[in-house]
Structures are given as structure tokens and as C-alpha cells.
């Protein structure tokens, strides 16, 4: 349209008012109490999809959108190629509502929700750094705690973040279940780390059978999540106690 109107182009041929038009569009989303005595309350949420050429978000439409929106879910072609779905890149996606939502999550779901989220995020962050080393010199060059960290991060990715939308149970996960899933994954890391510091062998810790059960936890029916969680926790405790005394070969 802008070209037809013979307007001066801005960046990459888009009209110069691209940014303000996009802002006007996204600002139509909001939470309002309508005027009048009946206090009608309503909310309009907008989820916009932008698919930039070549997946390169440094182009004007993506950048103008990012400046106005508060939450960004970056879909990642390489994750999709690895069949990791939903293919949301956990490192470059963000939400600026974290602080606002902290109270809600901590009150409605679990008081440690945000703390747990930060724990898992740090693990994923560290994984990305360690991955560089692994690419260059291989897994064996890592110290035992770092190997444990890598495994824990893999567990976050595969047992928590990955979700099968065609699986009857896995397709919908309540917040309570999500919290229990996060706890299991994190407790595996925390308790193994403690065991490691007390002299347990890393190979044995990584081979524990309970890890598969943690991975299967996502297929637990919503009704059974609490008892199943406690069962897995017990098994984790028992197996870790078992690991002591065994040596890596």
C-alpha cells in the first residue's frame, strides 16, 4: 500500500510509520472496566505471529514488534528439526510480567514457584555455556558436577519442556502438575549433587533407574499426580542411598 501511495520508504522498503502503526495495533489489547454503572470488566489479549524471512528477527517488522510487546516466544527451527516441541527457545524468549506474576504463582500454585523457575533457568543457562566446551573437547573433559549439570539440563528439556500435543494426557498439564514436574527434575539434580559431594560416583548417579520414572511422570493422570510424585521421590531417595559404596568401573 505504502509503495502504491508513493511514500518515501523507511527501512528495507517498509513505510516509515511501520513502528507507530504496529504500536497502535498492539495497544488495542488490554484489560478494561467499561464506563457506566454496571462495571463491565473485560480483557483482550493479543498473540501475534511474526514470521520473518529466513527466521532472522533483526528485520524491521520483528524489531518494531519486540519494542511494543512484553512477552516474546521465539520459535526455533533447530529445535523443530530435533523434534523438540513446542519449539520455543528457552534462552531468547522472555516475559516482562515475571515480577507482576510472582505473587500470583507463589500464592495460587506453590510458594516456591518463582524460585524453582529461576533454578531451572540457571541450569539451562549454564548448559548453553558448557555445551561450547563439550563441542570442542567432548563430554569427558567436564568435571563431575558439570556432567551432572548437563544431565539435569537435558532432563529439564526432555522431561519438562518437551510436550507431546497429540498425547491424551501430556497435551494439557495443569500448573500444579507443572510444579511437581519441575520439582522432580530439580530434586534429582540437587540430591545427586549432594551425593556427589559426599563421594558418590557420577556414573552410578546418572544410571539410576528412577530417572526414567521422572521422565515418564508427564504421562501421569491429573488425578494421580500427588501420590505418584511422592512415590517417585521415595524411589529417588532410596536409589541415591544405594549408590553410595558402588564404584565407577
Amino acid at each position: 500500500m505504502s509503495g502504491r501511495l508513493e511514500e518515501m520508504p523507511g527501512e528495507e522498503g517498509y513505510p516509515a510509520y511501520l513502528g507507530s502503526r504496529l504500536a497502535q495495533f498492539y495497544e488495542r489489547a488490554g484489560h478494561v472496566i467499561s464506563l457506566g454503572s454496571d462495571k463491565r470488566e473485560g480483557a483482550l489479549s493479543v498473540i501475534g505471529a511474526v514470521s520473518p524471512p529466513g527466521g532472522d528477527i533483526s528485520e524491521p517488522v520483528s524489531q518494531a514488534t519486540l519494542r511494543i510487546v512484553k512477552v516474546f516466544w521465539g520459535l526455533d527451527a533447530s529445535l523443530a528439526a530435533k523434534r523438540h516441541f513446542p519449539a520455543i527457545n528457552w534462552l531468547n524468549s522472555y516475559s516482562l510480567y515475571l515480577d507482576n506474576m510472582e505473587g500470583w504463582f507463589n500464592k495460587e500454585v506453590n510458594e516456591h514457584w518463582m524460585e524453582m523457575r529461576q533454578n531451572l533457568m540457571s541450569l539451562l543457562q549454564d548448559e548453553a555455556e558448557l555445551e561450547e566446551i563439550v563441542k570442542m573437547v567432548g563430554m569427558d573433559a567436564l568435571s563431575a558436577p558439570d556432567r551432572l549439570k548437563m544431565e539435569a539440563a537435558r532432563s529439564i528439556r526432555e522431561d519438562f519442556l518437551h510436550q507431546n500435543s497429540f498425547h491424551e494426557i501430556d497435551t494439557y498439564t495443569s500448573l500444579e502438575k507443572q510444579y511437581l514436574m519441575m520439582s522432580l527434575v530439580y530434586e534429582f539434580y540437587a540430591e545427586s549433587l549432594e551425593a556427589l559431594n559426599k563421594g558418590a560416583a557420577i556414573g552410578q548417579l546418572l544410571k539410576m533407574a528412577v530417572r526414567e520414572r521422572i521422565g515418564r511422570y508427564k504421562y501421569t493422570l491429573e488425578a494421580d499426580i500427588e501420590p505418584e510424585y511422592h512415590k517417585v521421590r521415595e524411589e529417588l531417595g532410596a536409589e541415591i542411598a544405594n549408590v553410595f559404596g558402588k564404584e565407577d568401573f
Partner: protein
């Protein structure tokens, strides 16, 4: 009664051509009366013989070429200023939007301001305590300085700016202090965040807000910072207050500038921004400062989001030339949970040396600052090496530096948005961190200070 013209020739985007006008001058303000009786404001951009090119402040929807009337008001854009503006909220054109009464102006001032006489400027050298260690300790802000925050989409620059506005003060004085806040093209939520956080802490009583939201006309955005600076200059130089001006977001301002420039069919410069953007930005930033013989001052913190996180983009690039340093926020630190995520090494305050030292902060400030910079830089290098070669490749001393860098980020930089540290506390934490390093490594610090503070 000014002459009314019914000679609108064309309307294109935010511009309108009026034919056959007489005695109209550049930058003059005008009013357009629509058939419905509604009036809108406009400004003369260009005069060519008897043709005037005017810029509309609101949308052009509904302007009927043959039936709409244009009046020119014989004055340029002015803002009626008064001390009563404190605690009030205005739109981008200086009209109250907080349901309060109109301001009874004590004076009307041209929003383009009068350039400060260079000879009348006095050098900024008074320390402002922001309560943020990474700024106070390492990139000190002084009165009359313009220090931008370079941020990027998704980083918490609003929290940092609100924190500075809440906490900033000059130590040992109780001279009147005010904050002028100009929002350009930000979302309702973001502006609401600022208003709420000012209200919560009571800072709203000493704050003037000018708000142009993302869905307000982009053209209005060009006058918003000028309105704010006019109010700031009035409070500073007529009412002897110390004014902190926060402009957010300069990137939206520059985009509005580009929008108008494209509508005027000007030849675009880098990335489509007009060639005069440097001059235009300078005409804003240079309004900060102190004047001889006046006790007030205007200190400016513009916030800009770097598109694509790119420091060489024209907006941060040109801003960097004019301002006296920059505070850079880092996505990497933000992901690590460092709040505020200030990337200390590339951040810089060019005027810091004038504002610190004996009598201003403390005698050991300058040398500890340099030592912290040097040690953190070395620690980061050591950490990079560790990523490539593993921990075993580092010498013992490099391991200590790596540990120092981690502790520095966690304790010195990361303090949260609600912590207000005075300069003594900042220096104390600095010394505590430096004590991680062996005394022999602290070559930049005088023995006398080491004796007094090291390891204590």
C-alpha cells in the same frame, strides 16, 4: 480575530498543504476547524511563497478539503508553565489528562527553548547519589550531566529508571528536587508502571509527567520531550530546583522523526532516518546543564532501546556522540538474574572524575573504582578462557579473579530495584570484594587506603 483559510489543497499522511496564506511564519501554530466543529492543532513546517506546508498533531481522518477551516495563531508552540505542574500528568502537547484543573501559567515559554549561552554554562561536578552501586561507584552521575541508558527490547530499563528517579539525591543538601518524566510512544502498561511506582513512594508530588503513548499520534511525540524540557528548564532556572529529566524511549522519538521526514519526502539517510537527526537529537540533549549564577540544574537520563541489540545503529550511535557517557544493560546478565543488569565494562560516565573524591564522596573512591574495573575485566577474561580450556587451564591467580568476577556480579551489581545503597555502603562492598584478591594485586590503590580498608 485571525484570518481563516478554506484553501486546503491536499492532505498526505501527517502533512497538509494550505494555499494563498499571508503573513504566516515558520513554526507558527495553527488550528483546523472541521465541519463537525472539532478543532485540531497543526504547525507550519515550510513556507513557499503563499503556500504553507503544515504538520498535523492529530490524525488527518475527517478533514474535508473544501469545508475545513485553518487559522494561524501568530505564535509558535508554547507551554504555560507554573510550579503547580508538580504532581500533575499531561499529554504530549502539555494538556492535563489527570482530570485535574487547567494550569494557571505563570509564564508561557517557547518549547524549543533558548540555547544556553556556552559562556554561562558551569561545569557539572556535584555528585548525585542514585543508590545504585554500579552507577554511584563506577559510573558516577553528576548534576547537569546527560547520561543515557542503552537498553534493548525485553530488558528492565523501566525498573532502573524508576529506581533512579525514586532514590536520586545530592548528599548533605535539602535543596528542592524534582523529576520531569517524558514518555514517548511507550505502552500504557509501561507508563502506568512509572506512575504507580512514583505514587507508591510519594515521589509523584515532585514529579511532572508528560505522556505520549504508543497509540497516540506519532507527530505529537516530537514535541513531547520539548514540552518536558521546557517545564524542566523553568523549574530549574526560574524556581532554582534540581531537576532530573527522564526521557523514554528515544528510539520511538527518532522513529517519529523518520515518519515525518518520510512524509515530507526528504532524502533519507542511514536506515531511513533523516540526515538532520544528529542536530535534532543534540537540540534535545544539549538542554541539560547548569548555568552560572543559577542554583538549579537539569540532569538528563534518556533511555533508548537499541534495535537488534546493535550499538552501531544510528540512534545509539548518534546519541553516544552527544551525551556524556552511557549505561549499558546486558541481556546476558539479565538472564543470569542480575538486577539491574548493568554491563559495567562498556558503560561509562565521562564526568565521573569531576564528581568523586574527597569532599564529594570519599578519598579512596577513584582508585578503588579503577581497581574494580581492572579486576572485573581480568576476571571476565579468565572466565572466557575457562569456557574454552576448562578450569584446569587457569593459574591459581586467574581462578581467584574468576571468583572475584562472579562475586562482583552477584553482590556489587545485583542489588535489586528496591535497595537504596548510600555511597559508603557501595564503597564498603567494593572493598569487601577487593579483599578476595591478594593485597599484592591491588596495584592501583595507594598503600594508605589499603592499610585503612583492605580486609576489613
Amino acid at each position: 480575530m485571525p484570518k481563516e483559510y478554506r484553501t486546503i489543497q491536499e492532505v498526505a499522511g501527517p502533512l497538509m498543504l494550505v494555499k494563498g496564506v499571508e503573513n504566516v511564519t515558520y513554526d507558527e501554530l495553527g488550528e483546523i476547524e472541521l465541519v463537525s466543529g472539532e478543532t485540531r492543532r497543526c504547525k507550519v513546517l515550510e513556507i513557499d511563497g503563499s503556500n504553507a506546508l503544515v504538520q498535523l498533531f492529530e490524525s488527518s481522518t475527517g478533514i474535508n478539503l473544501s469545508n475545513s477551516k485553518v487559522r494561524f495563531l501568530g505564535r509558535s508552540m508554547e507551554l504555560g508553565v507554573s510550579e503547580d505542574m508538580l504532581g500533575r500528568v499531561f499529554d504530549g502537547l502539555g494538556r492535563p489528562i489527570d482530570d485535574g484543573p487547567e494550569i494557571l501559567p505563570e509564564a508561557r515559554m517557547d518549547i524549543n527553548g533558548l540555547p544556553m549561552n556556552p559562556a554561562a554554562r558551569s561545569y557539572p561536578d556535584e555528585f548525585i547519589q542514585t543508590g545504585v552501586s554500579a552507577i554511584d561507584g563506577l559510573n558516577t552521575l553528576v548534576r547537569g550531566q546527560k547520561l543515557p541508558i542503552f537498553s534493548a527490547s525485553g530488558l528492565p530499563h523501566a525498573n532502573l529508571a524508576a529506581q533512579i528517579a525514586r532514590q536520586a539525591k545530592v548528599r548533605g543538601t535539602d535543596e528542592p528536587f524534582a523529576v520531569v518524566f517524558a514518555a514517548m510512544g511507550i505502552t500504557f502498561e509501561e507508563s502506568n508502571f512509572f506512575i504507580e511506582s512514583f505514587k507508591e513512594t510519594g515521589a509523584i508530588d515532585r514529579t511532572v509527567l508528560f505522556i505520549n503513548l504508543a497509540n497516540d499520534p506519532a507527530v505529537e511525540r516530537i514535541s513531547t520531550p520539548r514540552m518536558a524540557l521546557t517545564a524542566a528548564e523553568y523549574l530549574a532556572f526560574e524556581k532554582n530546583m534540581h531537576v532530573l529529566v527522564i526521557l523514554t524511549d528515544i528510539t520511538n522519538y527518532a522513529d517519529a522523526l523518520r515518519e515525518v521526514s518520510a512524509a515530507r519526502k526528504e532524502v533519507p539517510g542511514r536506515r531511513g532516518y533523516p540526515g538532520y537527526m544528529y542536530t535534532d537529537l543534540a537540540s534535545l540533549y544539549e538542554r541539560a546543564g547548569r548555568q552560572k549564577g543559577k542554583s538549579g540544574s537539569v540532569t538528563m537520563i534518556p533511555i533508548l532501546t537499541m534495535p537488534e541489540d546493535d550499538k552501531t545503529h544510528p540512534i545509539p550511535d548518534l546519541t553516544g556522540y552527544i551525551t556524556e557517557g552511557q549505561i549499558i544493560l546486558s541481556r546476558e546478565l539479565y538472564r543470569k538474574g542480575v538486577t539491574p543488569p548493568i554491563d559495567v565494562l562498556p558503560s561509562l560516565s565521562r564526568l565521573k572524575d569531576k564528581g568523586i573524591g574527597e569532599g564529594k564522596t570519599r578519598a579512596d573512591h577513584a582508585s578503588t573504582m579503577n581497581q574494580l574495573f581492572a579486576a572485573y575485566a581480568r576476571g571476565k577474561e579468565a572466565k572466557e578462557l575457562m569456557v574454552i580450556l576448562g578450569e584446569a587451564a587457569l593459574s591459581d591467580i586467574d581462578l581467584i579473579y574468576a571468583k572475584f568476577a562472579d562475586a562482583f556480579e552477584a553482590e556489587y551489581v545485583s542489588q535489586g530495584y528496591m535497595t537504596n545503597r548510600d555511597i559508603e555502603e557501595t564503597l564498603k562492598i567494593g572493598w569487601k570484594l577487593l579483599s578476595i584478591l591478594p593485597r599484592g594485586e591491588l596495584k592501583r590503590i595507594d598503600d594508605k587506603f589499603l592499610d585503612e580498608y583492605y580486609g576489613k
